[in-house]
Symmetry: C2
Subunit: 382 residues, 2 copies
């Protein structure tokens, strides 16, 4: 349940990763939508007017034409390669973010009188649970709210109701600054919400019946999702639903069951290709660990000026959260950081404090600057 060697690496990052933003752009610590590699943004800019020399822009391409078909297939292939799954898994895109998928899961897989269960480690997994509870019978397998979301469950520390149609968990908790370092071991069909950690580290997708990820963090575009799912699992869904709300129908139609979110799919494809280009999840995990440790170290070495309730063994490498001793100092921190070119550090409204969201594309130098700024701010205000 602790980071692997790769995830703990502290060696300086590869120069393939973004280092500093170009002129006029700031360091954007937003939790999502979040900063993207500038090379991907430039590629999108180029394609908007004329995609691949056909005289038609990316937004204007027929989703039934050969050119869009190629873009779609390239996006699926890059995501499949980054995930490392075989032909027993479908890799496809759907409209809507993770919350839409939270709504569709009970309708697809939980019949009247059946149940599903949720590991609750964050406001997002709780949202997945409450959305399902509006229409189906669901239960809480691990009650993280009772321990103020200070950690994820330890091995076996959750219920597995017999016959539950799935067990859902959130792989990385953006608001709480915690993460699972391995998928929970279970005999139930496991569903992982990977919205904030997809392709951020080596990850065993094959332990899952389904992994879903909305686009707006490591995949670039909000309003659409990547789904990686065992074919036999999605085939088990009820057919008494409109096809457009069934995961299996989207998979069988190759992500083109209807007019898909074509732009978002292309952006997700470009992000997945960038993921592979910089070295894939293994290289990215090292870079993310290096970045995160800079900031967590600044918390730990502040003599108690900065703190965060999350237990150290499950600290996230993607969302580093911290508070000063007083709420008004937190506000001053956020304002002063902006004057140093460090934006988007205000914590989630339900957790308070600060949050540095540093997904795969966040530039290394921004983390160095933030750690430096944290030290200076603590000296002046401590």
């Amino acid at each position: 349940m602790t980071p692997t060697a790769a995830m703990q690496a502290t060696s300086p990052a590869s120069t393939l990763f973004p280092q500093t933003p170009s002129k006029g752009r700031v360091y954007n610590f937003s939790a999502g939508p979040a900063c993207m590699p500038e090379c991907v943004l430039e590629q999108i800019r180029e394609e908007l007017i004329d995609c691949r020399g056909g005289g038609i822009g990316l937004l204007e391409l027929s989703h039934r034409g050969a050119l869009y078909e190629a873009l779609n297939n390239e996006a699926e292939a890059a995501c499949r390669k980054a995930a490392g799954v075989g032909s027993d898994y479908a890799v496809f895109f759907m409209p809507g973010g993770a919350t839409v998928q939270f709504g569709l899961l009970p309708l697809n897989f939980v019949g009247e009188g059946e149940t599903a269960t949720y590991i609750d480690t964050s406001i997002w997994s709780y949202k997945a649970y409450t959305e399902a509870a509006r229409c189906r019978n669901v239960s809480v397998a691990f009650d993280g709210r009772a321990i103020k979301y200070a950690r994820v469950p330890k091995k076996g520390e959750f219920a597995e109701p017999a016959g539950a149609k799935y067990l859902l968990y959130c792989q990385n908790n953006t608001v709480e600054g915690t993460t699972f370092w391995a998928p929970p071991e279970t005999t139930l069909p496991l569903i992982g919400d990977a919205t904030s950690d997809i392709f951020s580290r080596p990850w065993d997708f094959t332990k899952h019946a389904m992994v879903l990820a909305a686009g707006q963090k490591n995949l670039g575009a909000s309003g659409a999702s990547l789904i990686i799912a065992r074919k036999d699992f999605i085939a088990s869904a009820t057919t008494k639903l409109p096809t457009i709300l069934r995961f299996e129908d989207h998979a069988n139609a190759g992500s083109r069951l209807n007019t898909p979110p074509t732009f978002a799919v292309r952006v997700m494809g470009l992000m997945a290709e960038w993921t592979l280009k910089v070295g894939g999840p293994t290289a990215i995990a090292k870079n993310n660990a290096y970045k995160a440790n800079l900031i967590w170290d600044a918390v730990d070495n502040s003599g108690g000026f900065y703190s965060w309730p999350a237990e150290k063994w499950c600290r996230s490498h993607l969302n580093v959260c911290f508070k000063t001793p007083k709420a008004d100092l937190d506000a001053k921190f956020v304002a002063d950081a902006e004057s140093h070119g460090l934006f988007g550090l205000l914590g989630h409204r339900e957790a308070g404090g600060m949050r540095a969201s540093i997904y795969n594309a966040f530039p290394v130098h921004g983390c160095e600057l933030l750690a430096q700024f944290m030290g200076d701010f603590a000296k002046k205000n401590g």
Copy 2:
């Protein structure tokens, strides 16, 4: 049931409308995603790197930040103005295209043992019906399939089952080349699918309980929808659904119930603002009529070389469809047209022939060139 004077106008279009594409770009007659105004594409290109001088690109903006809030509110305001609805209507955006909304309608509004009814004038309205029929009791109010979709119903020519929760129709039929020139008169809550004709002409939204429009034609970006709905109608939906699948919850959250499709919303906003800038639906209707008449006239003046089964009184001004006497001549037409810079003319696979989709932003000169080409082709091959 015939076009109004404004819709029949044949005066040359305002110079505010696109006339010819810029260098390297072709005439794109795609049915959707479809061609967009180049001024909108250029604006998006600029915002992708740095949106409004904040140092953060459009795709990277937090949906909870002040800047995105402004973009969202501007988009809603422009759509509200173009629609001309008052405060009894909600104007908001949702993830997913029209097919997603087709799936959500029965789940929201039709309980077990209740019913809804559909005017079937096209493969799309039939799809709306079949999607609903998978989970709820629905009926066909007008059976256009029985007359091969040659026209829309005449006044009162459809059933209105007592107690039906809504009556759905498709305002413009992209595959069949037909259109309603006025909303059907009914006492049932009326739902219009305006995906292909939104803001293309003056339209009485207040005759509707809901009008929905996916983005990929007159609103620019696929994978998201504009919804204009009477507040009391969407409030009548069941609460036994995940909030993310309820229209009312999206409306009440100001299109930010979860992380929305931020890019698509911005694109829809820019398209709605462009709609207003060129003169709004009234000016656009005149321009569209001028463009469509050029091509329909080329059909009618071909001495029978070109034909289309749709009845003339309900011909679409947005999708002009035609066939030559033989399928192999159709294929030759499509290939020859491409060599003249006219792309995307292949008809829908279920209808055959050719289709010129000429939505609001399609350049006037492209219609003139197509009409000329049609005459030349008929002479050579007739």
